[in-house]
Amino acid sequence: MTKYYRELLDDGQWFFDQADSDQNTQNQERFSTASILFSFMALESFTNNMMADFTTLPSGLLTPHEQGFLAEKVVELADSGKNAGKFEVTNKQRYQSLEYKIMFLVARFSKDTVDKGSTLWQRFQKMKDIRDSLTHPRKDITQITSPKDAQEAISVSKEIIELVSQKVWKKKVKF
């Protein structure tokens, strides 16, 4: 069954609670890592689902480049067929980074942009770096996580979700 952002945040919270109540340092790290990953999965889920809402729009309302970005597909100039000379969305996958998606959603569908100098964005970038190092482990980088990191990941995810919801939907999210 597909899990939505609220369930994923609940999972993140559950792992944080485990980390916070366990006295064993190794277990704390295991639970904290899981909590951070679930919190970011929640944020990814929320962002991707919002992107998907716009990919279903009838043609002509968004440019091919916007459509391609939302669908995470490559946009190319067609060199044959009825669209020859026009940009069109292809079936080739092009994954976009989480921060790009957030920035695009806010900039395109609200009359505002993300304030990259804000404390929230700085906290988001820091937690995302931790998440990235967990999902792309390398022997030359040691990433240690703590319950404090897990708690921060939950807070940051919720606050970013809140930000995007307010900007795009003009609606406060209830967790």
Binding site: M50, D53, F54, L57, P58, L61, F109, K174
Partner: protein, 419 residues
């Protein structure tokens, strides 16, 4: 014996009323008359209806009481206006026991009218359960004085108002109000139309409470009519191309009052009830409603909310709106009017289970699924679901179609700066 009647200081003299009161007093023995007291004729300040207050013995009142009061006395087609007697209700049983032990009731509201069933000229508008309890006590030869308000020479509007205000102190549903208002202010046309298209059975009336029935209420029937014409009007404003680039707003008629939109449509267009396209849509919807109900009844998920999925406050308006909207789009209309095939693994054409499980990120954690609420957002979503399905005769209401339709509504609303 001549009984003196006088009009109170707020009640203008009215000879017809005075004659009717005198006729009543000559036929019915009241406590006041037996004590040689004057009978005061009052006039209600709002609807200007005339009435008297008097006490009648149970044995006097019992045979004169008519519990099947009509809103339109001259029309034998006028259905019973009061709610159903709840003879097994604990409160009624207690009331009957009390009456048999000598309880005296007061402020029972009746209309003196011998224009139909003249043997029972006291038409009960308020206190039908008390009246029935008095009748039952009378059968046991228990007869006490009970207080009555007896109205005279009521107009159609006064009678309708009386029916409503007499029921405001008990738990009466808006559905009953709607049914009564429809009958007096518009006539039996809506009921006849619903019977013709199959939304009501032959001779069947709208339910007095939705919760006790699985058929369309007056509110829903009005909503169907209004949305069909709203959709049709919107369609005329659009060309074929941008049909799917809009968010549509199916309307939900107000309950408990005669809805303005509905009044406007039935008063401006006297051919509403003969409109062939409306009738075709009504029949198609009725068939969908039946198919939904029957398929769920035979399944392992046999629950009322699934059986009545078609007649929820968001599904019905959306369906009717889209039926109107597609009038100029022959092939899509044909698809819309056909009963969808059930989604693989599901028993019903509307896939009620999938809809009930549906939730968008934007929804509150308490959201109960698509097509369950009456909110505008839910009606918009359902309209888009039906519109999406009309593109393909073979399409079913599967998760993919539902997801896409709701996403489209949300995306379009964001682009337009709406909800």
């Amino acid at each position: 014996m001549i009984i003196k009647t006088i009009f109170d200081q707020s009640s203008p003299l009215n000879t017809s009323v005075e004659n009717a009161v005198n006729e009543f007093l000559s036929m019915v023995e009241t406590l006041e008359a037996s004590q040689d007291n004057k009978i005061i004729i009052h006039q209600d300040g709002v609807e200007k209806s005339y009435y008297i207050r008097c006490c009648l013995l149970g044995k006097t009142a019992a045979p004169l009481i008519d519990l099947n009061a009509r809103l339109i006395p001259e029309s034998p087609d006028s259905y019973r206006a009061n709610r159903k007697l709840l003879v097994k209700n604990k409160t009624f049983l207690r009331m009957s026991q009390d009456a048999a032990r000598g309880r005296e009731f007061n402020d029972i509201i009746v209309e003196y009218n011998n224009g139909y069933t003249p043997e029972s000229p006291l038409k009960v508008w308020g206190g039908q359960h008390r009246s029935r309890a008095i009748q039952l006590a009378s059968e046991k030869e228990i007869s006490r004085y009970h207080g009555f308000r007896v109205y005279f020479c009521l107009t159609k509007e006064q009678r309708s108002e009386l029916a409503l205000i007499s029921n405001t102190n008990i738990n009466v549903s808006n559905d009953l109000f709607d049914r009564a208002l429809e009958e007096t202010m518009v006539g039996p046309y809506l009921r006849h139309w619903c019977q013709r298209v199959g939304l009501l059975g032959p001779g069947e009336d709208f339910p007095d409470t939705k919760s006790n029935s699985e058929r369309v209420t007056t509110q829903l029937a009005r909503t169907f009519i209004v949305n069909f014409f709203l959709g049709k009007r919107r369609s005329a404003e659009l060309s074929s191309e941008p049909l799917d680039k809009n968010v549509y707003e199916p309307y939900l008629c107000l309950s408990g009052v005669l809805d303005d939109q509905y009044s406007l449509i039935v008063s401006q267009n006297n051919k509403v009830w003969d409109d062939k396209a409306l009738e075709e849509s009504g029949k198609a919807f009725s068939a969908l409603n039946k198919a939904q109900s029957e398929s769920i009844k035979k399944s392992s998920i046999n629950g009322k909310s699934f059986r009545t999925k078609a007649i929820t406050l968001s599904v019905l308006p959306a369906w009717a709106y889209v039926a109107g909207l597609l009038q100029q789009h022959e092939s899509r209309l044909k698809n819309h009017l056909s009963i969808p095939k059930a989604t693989k693994g599901e028993p019903d054409p509307l896939n009620a289970r999938e809809m009930s499980q549906y939730k968008h990120d934007k929804d509150l954690p308490t959201y109960r699924g698509l097509g369950t609420r009456s909110s505008m957002a839910d009606r918009q979503r359902m309209a888009q679901v039906f519109l999406a399905r009309s593109l393909d005769a073979e399409a079913t209401f599967d998760k993919k179609l539902i997801n896409k339709a709701v996403s489209t509504v949300i995306g379009l609303n964001v682009l337009s700066g709406g909800y």
